[in-house]
Symmetry: C2
Subunit: 148 residues, 2 copies
Protein backbone atom coordinates (compact mmCIF):
# COMPACT_ATOMS: atom_id res chain seq x y z
CA UNK A 1 0.00 0.00 0.00
CA UNK A 2 1.51 3.28 -1.08
CA UNK A 3 0.41 6.71 -2.25
CA UNK A 4 3.36 7.81 -4.35
CA UNK A 5 3.50 11.42 -5.45
CA UNK A 6 6.27 12.69 -7.72
CA UNK A 7 7.56 16.21 -7.05
CA UNK A 8 9.65 18.05 -9.60
CA UNK A 9 11.81 21.14 -10.04
CA UNK A 10 14.19 22.67 -12.56
CA UNK A 11 17.48 24.54 -12.20
CA UNK A 12 19.06 26.70 -14.88
CA UNK A 13 22.39 28.54 -14.94
CA UNK A 14 21.70 32.25 -15.43
CA UNK A 15 25.07 33.81 -14.53
CA UNK A 16 28.62 32.95 -13.45
CA UNK A 17 27.45 30.86 -10.48
CA UNK A 18 23.86 32.03 -10.21
CA UNK A 19 21.07 29.57 -10.82
CA UNK A 20 17.35 30.05 -11.24
CA UNK A 21 15.41 27.21 -9.67
CA UNK A 22 11.70 26.66 -10.17
CA UNK A 23 8.95 24.41 -8.85
CA UNK A 24 5.26 24.79 -9.75
CA UNK A 25 5.87 28.31 -11.09
CA UNK A 26 7.66 29.53 -7.94
CA UNK A 27 11.16 30.76 -8.69
CA UNK A 28 14.16 31.12 -6.41
CA UNK A 29 17.54 32.57 -7.35
CA UNK A 30 20.45 30.71 -5.79
CA UNK A 31 23.94 32.20 -5.80
CA UNK A 32 27.20 32.44 -3.89
CA UNK A 33 28.63 35.52 -2.16
CA UNK A 34 31.09 37.69 -4.10
CA UNK A 35 34.09 36.35 -2.13
CA UNK A 36 33.24 32.87 -3.40
CA UNK A 37 32.99 33.94 -7.03
CA UNK A 38 29.27 34.64 -7.14
CA UNK A 39 27.17 37.78 -7.41
CA UNK A 40 25.29 37.34 -4.09
CA UNK A 41 21.80 37.42 -5.60
CA UNK A 42 20.47 34.80 -3.21
CA UNK A 43 21.33 32.21 -0.60
CA UNK A 44 23.57 29.32 -1.58
CA UNK A 45 22.48 25.67 -2.08
CA UNK A 46 23.59 24.42 1.34
CA UNK A 47 21.73 27.27 3.04
CA UNK A 48 18.69 26.38 0.92
CA UNK A 49 18.92 22.82 2.24
CA UNK A 50 18.76 24.13 5.83
CA UNK A 51 15.72 26.28 4.88
CA UNK A 52 14.03 23.24 3.37
CA UNK A 53 14.54 21.34 6.63
CA UNK A 54 13.42 24.26 8.81
CA UNK A 55 10.30 24.88 6.73
CA UNK A 56 9.36 21.20 6.76
CA UNK A 57 9.75 20.91 10.53
CA UNK A 58 7.82 24.14 11.14
CA UNK A 59 4.94 22.97 8.94
CA UNK A 60 4.96 19.55 10.56
CA UNK A 61 4.70 21.18 14.01
CA UNK A 62 1.62 23.11 12.80
CA UNK A 63 -0.04 20.03 11.31
CA UNK A 64 0.62 17.60 14.16
CA UNK A 65 -0.20 20.20 16.84
CA UNK A 66 -3.67 20.41 15.34
CA UNK A 67 -4.02 16.63 15.30
CA UNK A 68 -2.89 16.39 18.94
CA UNK A 69 -5.11 19.38 19.88
CA UNK A 70 -2.14 21.37 21.14
CA UNK A 71 -2.45 25.12 20.93
CA UNK A 72 0.70 26.71 19.49
CA UNK A 73 0.93 30.48 19.29
CA UNK A 74 4.35 30.84 17.72
CA UNK A 75 7.02 28.61 16.23
CA UNK A 76 10.43 29.63 15.05
CA UNK A 77 13.56 27.62 14.48
CA UNK A 78 17.30 28.08 14.13
CA UNK A 79 19.06 25.50 11.99
CA UNK A 80 22.78 25.12 11.50
CA UNK A 81 25.09 22.64 9.88
CA UNK A 82 28.83 22.01 9.67
CA UNK A 83 30.48 21.47 6.34
CA UNK A 84 34.15 20.75 5.67
CA UNK A 85 35.09 22.93 2.69
CA UNK A 86 37.97 20.55 1.90
CA UNK A 87 35.38 17.98 0.77
CA UNK A 88 34.27 20.10 -2.18
CA UNK A 89 37.89 20.92 -3.00
CA UNK A 90 38.80 17.24 -2.97
CA UNK A 91 41.48 17.47 -0.25
CA UNK A 92 41.98 14.37 1.87
CA UNK A 93 39.05 12.14 2.71
CA UNK A 94 36.61 14.82 3.85
CA UNK A 95 33.04 14.25 2.76
CA UNK A 96 31.61 17.08 0.67
CA UNK A 97 28.22 17.16 2.40
CA UNK A 98 27.15 18.26 5.86
CA UNK A 99 28.75 16.40 8.73
CA UNK A 100 26.11 17.35 11.25
CA UNK A 101 22.94 19.45 11.38
CA UNK A 102 21.48 20.89 14.59
CA UNK A 103 18.24 22.71 15.21
CA UNK A 104 16.67 24.68 17.98
CA UNK A 105 12.91 25.07 18.13
CA UNK A 106 11.26 27.96 19.94
CA UNK A 107 7.63 27.26 20.70
CA UNK A 108 5.15 29.59 22.36
CA UNK A 109 2.42 27.46 23.85
CA UNK A 110 0.49 26.98 27.08
CA UNK A 111 0.49 23.20 26.59
CA UNK A 112 2.27 21.03 29.19
CA UNK A 113 5.88 20.10 28.39
CA UNK A 114 5.02 16.38 27.97
CA UNK A 115 2.53 17.23 25.21
CA UNK A 116 5.11 19.37 23.43
CA UNK A 117 7.67 16.58 23.66
CA UNK A 118 5.14 14.11 22.23
CA UNK A 119 4.53 16.54 19.37
CA UNK A 120 8.23 16.98 18.61
CA UNK A 121 8.82 13.21 18.62
CA UNK A 122 6.09 12.87 16.00
CA UNK A 123 7.62 15.69 13.93
CA UNK A 124 11.06 14.10 14.08
CA UNK A 125 9.67 10.78 12.89
CA UNK A 126 7.38 12.07 10.15
CA UNK A 127 9.02 15.17 8.65
CA UNK A 128 9.76 14.25 5.00
CA UNK A 129 12.84 16.46 4.64
CA UNK A 130 14.32 15.34 7.98
CA UNK A 131 13.81 11.69 6.99
CA UNK A 132 15.38 12.31 3.57
CA UNK A 133 18.45 13.99 5.07
CA UNK A 134 18.85 11.72 8.10
CA UNK A 135 18.36 8.41 6.36
CA UNK A 136 19.58 9.28 2.87
CA UNK A 137 17.86 8.95 -0.49
CA UNK A 138 18.77 6.81 -3.48
CA UNK A 139 20.06 9.26 -6.12
CA UNK A 140 20.01 7.73 -9.59
CA UNK A 141 22.94 8.28 -11.94
CA UNK A 142 22.08 11.43 -13.91
CA UNK A 143 20.67 11.25 -17.37
CA UNK A 144 22.80 13.57 -19.54
CA UNK A 145 21.79 15.21 -22.80
CA UNK A 146 24.56 17.04 -24.63
CA UNK A 147 23.53 19.71 -27.11
CA UNK A 148 26.20 20.89 -29.55
CA UNK B 1 42.92 18.44 8.45
CA UNK B 2 39.60 20.14 7.99
CA UNK B 3 38.19 23.53 7.08
CA UNK B 4 34.85 23.48 8.87
CA UNK B 5 32.35 26.20 8.03
CA UNK B 6 29.02 26.46 9.83
CA UNK B 7 26.04 27.56 7.75
CA UNK B 8 22.83 28.73 9.37
CA UNK B 9 19.22 29.58 8.62
CA UNK B 10 15.99 30.35 10.43
CA UNK B 11 12.37 29.37 9.80
CA UNK B 12 9.34 31.09 11.29
CA UNK B 13 5.65 30.27 11.05
CA UNK B 14 3.84 33.26 9.50
CA UNK B 15 0.46 31.75 8.58
CA UNK B 16 -1.58 28.55 8.73
CA UNK B 17 1.13 26.47 7.03
CA UNK B 18 3.27 29.23 5.56
CA UNK B 19 6.80 29.66 6.79
CA UNK B 20 9.33 32.42 6.23
CA UNK B 21 12.84 31.04 5.95
CA UNK B 22 15.96 33.17 5.96
CA UNK B 23 19.69 32.76 5.45
CA UNK B 24 22.17 35.67 5.35
CA UNK B 25 19.33 38.16 4.87
CA UNK B 26 17.79 36.29 1.91
CA UNK B 27 14.18 35.32 2.58
CA UNK B 28 12.05 32.61 1.00
CA UNK B 29 8.38 31.95 1.72
CA UNK B 30 7.53 28.25 1.84
CA UNK B 31 3.92 27.10 1.75
CA UNK B 32 1.59 24.34 0.62
CA UNK B 33 -1.06 24.56 -2.12
CA UNK B 34 -4.64 25.39 -1.09
CA UNK B 35 -5.81 21.79 -1.55
CA UNK B 36 -3.29 20.73 1.10
CA UNK B 37 -4.40 23.37 3.61
CA UNK B 38 -1.93 26.08 2.67
CA UNK B 39 -2.25 29.44 0.94
CA UNK B 40 0.08 28.67 -2.00
CA UNK B 41 2.48 31.56 -1.39
CA UNK B 42 5.53 29.52 -2.37
CA UNK B 43 6.88 26.10 -3.14
CA UNK B 44 6.72 23.43 -0.46
CA UNK B 45 9.66 22.04 1.57
CA UNK B 46 10.17 18.88 -0.51
CA UNK B 47 10.22 20.95 -3.71
CA UNK B 48 12.73 23.28 -2.02
CA UNK B 49 14.92 20.24 -1.33
CA UNK B 50 14.92 19.39 -5.07
CA UNK B 51 15.83 23.02 -5.88
CA UNK B 52 18.70 22.90 -3.40
CA UNK B 53 20.04 19.78 -5.13
CA UNK B 54 19.55 21.20 -8.64
CA UNK B 55 21.23 24.50 -7.75
CA UNK B 56 24.17 22.75 -6.12
CA UNK B 57 24.73 20.47 -9.11
CA UNK B 58 24.40 23.34 -11.58
CA UNK B 59 26.95 25.44 -9.67
CA UNK B 60 29.28 22.47 -9.34
CA UNK B 61 29.13 21.94 -13.12
CA UNK B 62 30.15 25.60 -13.62
CA UNK B 63 33.02 25.41 -11.13
CA UNK B 64 34.48 22.07 -12.23
CA UNK B 65 34.05 22.87 -15.94
CA UNK B 66 36.35 25.83 -15.41
CA UNK B 67 38.89 23.68 -13.56
CA UNK B 68 38.81 21.06 -16.32
CA UNK B 69 38.91 23.77 -19.02
CA UNK B 70 35.63 22.62 -20.53
CA UNK B 71 33.59 25.26 -22.26
CA UNK B 72 29.92 25.07 -21.25
CA UNK B 73 27.44 27.40 -22.91
CA UNK B 74 24.28 26.36 -21.13
CA UNK B 75 23.27 24.09 -18.27
CA UNK B 76 19.78 23.26 -17.14
CA UNK B 77 18.45 20.40 -15.09
CA UNK B 78 15.23 18.63 -14.32
CA UNK B 79 15.00 17.01 -10.91
CA UNK B 80 12.24 14.77 -9.62
CA UNK B 81 11.64 12.63 -6.59
CA UNK B 82 9.07 10.09 -5.42
CA UNK B 83 7.50 10.40 -2.01
CA UNK B 84 4.96 8.09 -0.42
CA UNK B 85 2.37 10.37 1.20
CA UNK B 86 1.42 7.54 3.58
CA UNK B 87 4.76 8.04 5.34
CA UNK B 88 3.83 11.51 6.59
CA UNK B 89 0.35 10.26 7.52
CA UNK B 90 1.85 7.38 9.51
CA UNK B 91 0.13 4.57 7.58
CA UNK B 92 1.97 1.26 7.39
CA UNK B 93 5.75 1.23 7.25
CA UNK B 94 6.27 3.80 4.50
CA UNK B 95 9.19 6.13 5.07
CA UNK B 96 8.22 9.81 5.18
CA UNK B 97 11.14 11.03 3.04
CA UNK B 98 11.94 10.65 -0.63
CA UNK B 99 12.33 7.10 -1.84
CA UNK B 100 14.26 8.03 -4.95
CA UNK B 101 15.51 11.19 -6.68
CA UNK B 102 16.36 11.37 -10.39
CA UNK B 103 17.90 14.15 -12.42
CA UNK B 104 18.43 14.95 -16.02
CA UNK B 105 21.17 17.38 -17.03
CA UNK B 106 21.04 19.29 -20.31
CA UNK B 107 24.43 20.65 -21.28
CA UNK B 108 25.25 22.78 -24.29
CA UNK B 109 28.93 22.35 -25.01
CA UNK B 110 31.31 21.62 -27.85
CA UNK B 111 33.50 19.47 -25.58
CA UNK B 112 33.88 15.76 -26.39
CA UNK B 113 31.50 13.41 -24.59
CA UNK B 114 34.31 11.80 -22.53
CA UNK B 115 35.24 15.19 -21.05
CA UNK B 116 31.62 15.88 -20.15
CA UNK B 117 31.35 12.47 -18.49
CA UNK B 118 34.53 13.15 -16.51
CA UNK B 119 33.02 16.48 -15.41
CA UNK B 120 29.75 14.91 -14.30
CA UNK B 121 31.55 12.19 -12.33
CA UNK B 122 33.40 14.91 -10.44
CA UNK B 123 30.14 16.79 -9.81
CA UNK B 124 28.45 13.65 -8.51
CA UNK B 125 31.31 12.99 -6.10
CA UNK B 126 31.81 16.54 -4.84
CA UNK B 127 28.40 18.24 -4.80
CA UNK B 128 27.72 19.02 -1.10
CA UNK B 129 23.93 18.74 -1.33
CA UNK B 130 24.07 15.48 -3.34
CA UNK B 131 26.46 13.99 -0.78
CA UNK B 132 24.24 15.14 2.11
CA UNK B 133 21.12 13.60 0.56
CA UNK B 134 22.72 10.44 -0.81
CA UNK B 135 24.78 9.52 2.23
CA UNK B 136 22.66 11.06 4.96
CA UNK B 137 23.58 13.56 7.67
CA UNK B 138 23.61 13.15 11.44
CA UNK B 139 20.66 15.22 12.71
CA UNK B 140 20.97 16.01 16.39
CA UNK B 141 17.93 15.76 18.65
CA UNK B 142 16.35 19.24 18.60
CA UNK B 143 16.90 21.69 21.38
CA UNK B 144 13.47 22.93 22.46
CA UNK B 145 12.67 26.18 24.21
CA UNK B 146 9.08 26.58 25.36
CA UNK B 147 7.80 30.11 25.96
CA UNK B 148 4.57 30.44 27.95
Amino acid sequence: MALIKTYSATAKKIGELSVETEARGFKIIVDEPVEKGGTNKGMNPVELLLCSLGACQTMAVSIFAEQLKINIEEIWMEIEGDLDSYGFMGYGNARSGYQNIRYHMHIKSDAPEEKINELIELVEKRCPVADSIKNGVKLDKPKITIVK
